[in-house]
Symmetry: C2
Subunit: 118 residues, 2 copies
Amino acid sequence: MVDALSATFSALADPTRRAILARLAEGEATVGELAAPFDITLPAISRHLKVLEGAGLVSKGRSAQWRPCRLEAARLKAADEWMAPYREFFDTRFDRLEAQLESMTTKTTTDTKGTTHD
Amino acid sequence: MVDALSATFSALADPTRRAILARLAEGEATVGELAAPFDITLPAISRHLKVLEGAGLVSKGRSAQWRPCRLEAARLKAADEWMAPYREFFDTRFDRLEAQLESMTTKTTTDTKGTTHD
DNA sequence: GCGATATTTAACCAATCGGTTAATTAACGA
DNA sequence: TCGTTAATTAACCGATTGGTTAAATATCGC
């Protein structure tokens, strides 16, 4: 997978890991505290945290036998920035009706093979 | 994986698929056109597209033997909205120095076990 | 109907994923 | 030093992933 953005999105592609991030947005928490809300075992949580750490979304400190975890937002910001150019499309109603209208008014369309989308 | 958000992030966790989306942001394209820039085989592209379709990020039309693909932004928007609450943290320099300052001024800290983060 | 073009499906493979249980490491506190 | 608590590591399992080659499907143009 290698690249940071892929690692970030991959880390986000799991509801448990997203929940952990949501929890950390409210402040630091130890591994045990993070694990509490879930049904899965501690080793499983430990590995989810390792994935989040690997993606640079979380950092771990140490305090006696505890490992307080903290949200690291930089990589989230990078993911957010990757999304930014697509925001332009969020409200583009580029759909059936509009496309059809366009193809009816324009005679020889610049169309990618005369689309009949849907 | 089941939930839409996980499917979306998972689909985005691959550079080939992100490149496909970037290409589609410039307009519709057939499977062959989308495959052209890549070294991998057509079946591989076909499956990447199926992942993107499955995540609702791309829709396919049909026109003779071509399958013109189009970007569908709704799910991207949902992912973007998931990120929104975290934007608050993007510039929070919540780091060593600031945390340490805080723990020095506050006597009995509300600290999660007296963090020594890093 | 036939050959060419566009795309998908099938079968396979090695690697990774998300979970488990059991064992290990590390630091506390008495 | 011993028992307890916090967390990680190891070994294993079944499912999924991302790629391949080869075969199948669909539609065109003649």
